[in-house]
């Protein structure tokens, strides 16, 4: 299994919903296998200021959950999409409606920030069966015992499945999304080693990573770094995806 070099996060509808297909095509052209796409929410309790602001801008511009999913319909030039969302919009939509809307899209998995395993198990099972598994999240506070439970409850579909449907998301530090003040290498390395003892799945590491060197360090640990807030900020300031990502995909350390 080759290492996926980067998992970027985009906020749907920011800078605009119209620009989304082109952004996804560009990501695909950059050789990215998968991408996280944030569904803008009114109360993003796990997000820092950058993603909050992006979500509120997107909502103000009409990026409702339904419009976001409709804008993804029929896209072929796109990486696999992991839909990053809060529970309530999905809950209000309902499983059937959601499946219909997801079917024509490149969405391959769901990362529901405020849905711990076991909470809405019927909904989760229905979506998994339909091909939309929930990404397991492993936080710094997650004990190894609890990590084992989570990985069991959201099982590995096996090596034949795509990265989006297989990976576990390792939260690099306490707190919310957003650029941190430098990475504490040692504890992340130890956590990744411990988790690798539990699972064969690919691991992605996010929260607070942005500079090329930190991303590179994560790759040397055998995991895929996630780049979120910094990327969203740069795109909002007018940078292109290529400009923002290219230096972050190569290891010059």
């Amino acid at each position: 299994m080759s290492l996926n070099p980067l998992l970027p996060f985009l906020m749907a509808g920011d800078p605009s919903l119209e620009a989304l297909p082109a952004l996804l095509a560009e990501a695909k052209a950059l050789g990215l296998e998968a991408i996280e796409l944030g569904l803008p929410h009114s109360d993003p309790i796990a997000d820092g200021p950058v993603l909050q602001a992006a979500a509120h801008r997107a909502i103000a511009r009409g990026a409702t959950p339904r419009r976001v999913l409709e804008s993804l319909a029929g896209l072929s030039e796109s990486p696999d999409i992991i839909l990053f969302t809060y529970l309530n919009p999905l809950f209000q939509m309902g499983a059937e409606r959601l499946k219909q809307l997801l079917a024509p899209t490149p969405v391959r998995a769901l990362l529901v920030v405020d849905l711990p395993f076991g909470e809405e198990s019927d909904l989760e099972a229905t979506l998994r069966t339909a091909g939309y598994p929930m990404v397991p999240l492993l936080a710094p506070t997650t004990t190894l015992g609890r990590a084992r439970q989570i990985l069991l409850d959201r099982p590995d579909p096996g090596p034949s499945a795509c990265f989006a449907q297989r990976f576990a998301y390792v939260v690099a530090r306490l707190g919310v999304t957003g650029t941190g003040q430098g990475m504490d290498r040692e504890p992340i390395s130890r956590r990744l080693e411990a988790l690798k003892g539990l699972t064969e799945r690919p691991l992605a590491v996010g929260f607070g990573l942005s500079d090329p060197q930190s991303l590179s360090v994560i790759r040397t640990m055998g995991a895929t770094p996630v780049i979120g807030s910094a990327l969203v900020q740069e795109l909002a300031e007018g940078r292109s995806l290529r400009e923002a990502l290219t230096p972050r995909m190569v290891d010059d350390v």
Partner: protein, 375 residues
């Protein structure tokens, strides 16, 4: 319904709460602090002049306005602070809307020697400036929250975010019976002292139970606190929501008629929201009732038919406050005024005896009363 980072802290909290609940040392300390610091039991005041004015036979008021810091919030804040210290936490995070929970938490932290940070929307900070000053005098840090309407919902968002960043050393004292499990249980359990006292007092002072027990309900900590101990009794339990100034979404905070099940701040309950699952804006003259979700335990009791939910408008609440002021010499919080506002309707339904919970004092609402009542 919490982010994974908070799951283990929540599980730890639940375990600590369970252990404390049966630990005589914890219970004795809490009882002593409630008595000697908070001023419990609070009185049950007969209100004969207001009763006569309204056509009631008996009206009793449970006086949480007489607690230290002036509202029922201190019961929960102090208990959670003791629990947090027991868990080895050295820092406290809290959110506040009207500022009463913030003041109560700041006071409890000063009392126990814990560092305290309170998140508060900028709109609320402006309109409740005296409470900001009180928190600061107690040594608390007040963090302004700029997002959204700058009120309670945003403050909870930010407090949850802050907790996720410091959950190793900090405890989050949530102020109402909402948020992720075990908070609703914790808060309800620390607030039922209100109803337990009230029930014993009304039996002692009048020899019988009233026909109706009545409380206002924002998140639900005051409503549950008063009503839960009367669940086994054959009487009507009524919670009053903020009817605001209209019936359209965004003009009120009445979740029973206006809301439907949804997830916010880590719990699934009746929620005011739009078709997309985005939380709706709310409106109420009372900052403490101006919250888009009914606490999940109260919602469950309502859906089960154990508690009735009614609404009172801003104007009705103002009238209720004025009547209590002029006939009994008690200045109620705007929240409590919503319960008072329902009394005429109950009389019209033939009710003669009521026990009403005054959740807090109205000093914090003076500027609103002045402006709206032309005082």
């Amino acid at each position: 319904y919490a982010p994974e980072t908070l799951m283990q802290p929540l599980l730890d909290l639940e375990a600590a709460f369970r252990a404390a609940s049966v630990d005589p040392a914890f219970l004795a300390e809490l009882r002593a602090e409630l008595r000697h610091f908070v001023g419990r039991p609070t009185p049950l005041t007969p209100a004969p002049r207001l009763a006569a004015k309204l056509g009631l036979k008996v009206l009793f008021l449970k006086r949480e306005d007489l607690t230290h810091t002036g509202a029922h919030k201190i019961n929960n804040a102090l208990a959670q602070a003791i629990l947090a210290r027991r868990m080895g936490k050295t820092e406290i995070i809290a959110e506040t809307g009207a500022g009463q929970h913030g003041v109560a938490t700041a006071a409890a932290c000063a009392r126990l020697g814990l560092a305290c940070t309170v998140y508060m929307g900028v709109t609320d900070m402006a309109r409740q400036a005296p409470n900001v000053a009180r928190m600061r005098l107690f040594g608390a840090k007040v963090m302004p929250v700029e997002a959204g309407q700058g009120t309670l919902k945003e403050a909870v968002n930010e407090a949850l975010r802050a907790w996720a960043g410091q959950c190793d050393r900090a405890h989050y004292i949530l102020g109402s019976a909402l948020g992720p499990h075990p908070f609703p249980t914790l808060v309800r359990s620390f607030q039922t002292v209100i109803g337990e006292e009230a029930r014993a007092q009304v039996m002692d002072q009048s020899g019988s139970l009233p026909e109706v027990v009545l409380a206002c309900a924002g998140g639900g900590s005051n409503g549950l606190g008063l009503l839960v101990p009367f669940l086994g009794d054959g009487l009507r339990r009524v919670a009053v929501e903020a009817g605001g100034y209209g019936t359209a979404l965004g003009e009120h905070a009445a979740r029973l008629d206006g809301g439907h099940m949804g997830v916010l701040h880590g719990c699934k309950t009746l929620l005011l929201q739009d078709e997309h699952g985005h939380t709706a804006e709310t409106a109420s003259i009372s900052a403490g009732l101006d919250y888009p979700a009914l606490g999940p335990e109260l919602a469950a009791l309502v859906l089960d038919g154990q508690v009735e939910v009614r609404r009172a408008s801003d104007e009705e609440a103002l009238t209720g406050a004025r009547m209590l002021c002029e006939n009994e010499g008690i200045l109620p919080a705007l929240e409590s005024s919503h319960a008072l506002a329902l009394l005429p309707a109950l009389v019209a339904e033939g009710v003669a005896t009521v026990l009403l919970g005054l959740s807090g004092r109205g000093d914090k609402d003076l500027s609103t009363y002045q402006a709206r009542l032309g005082i």
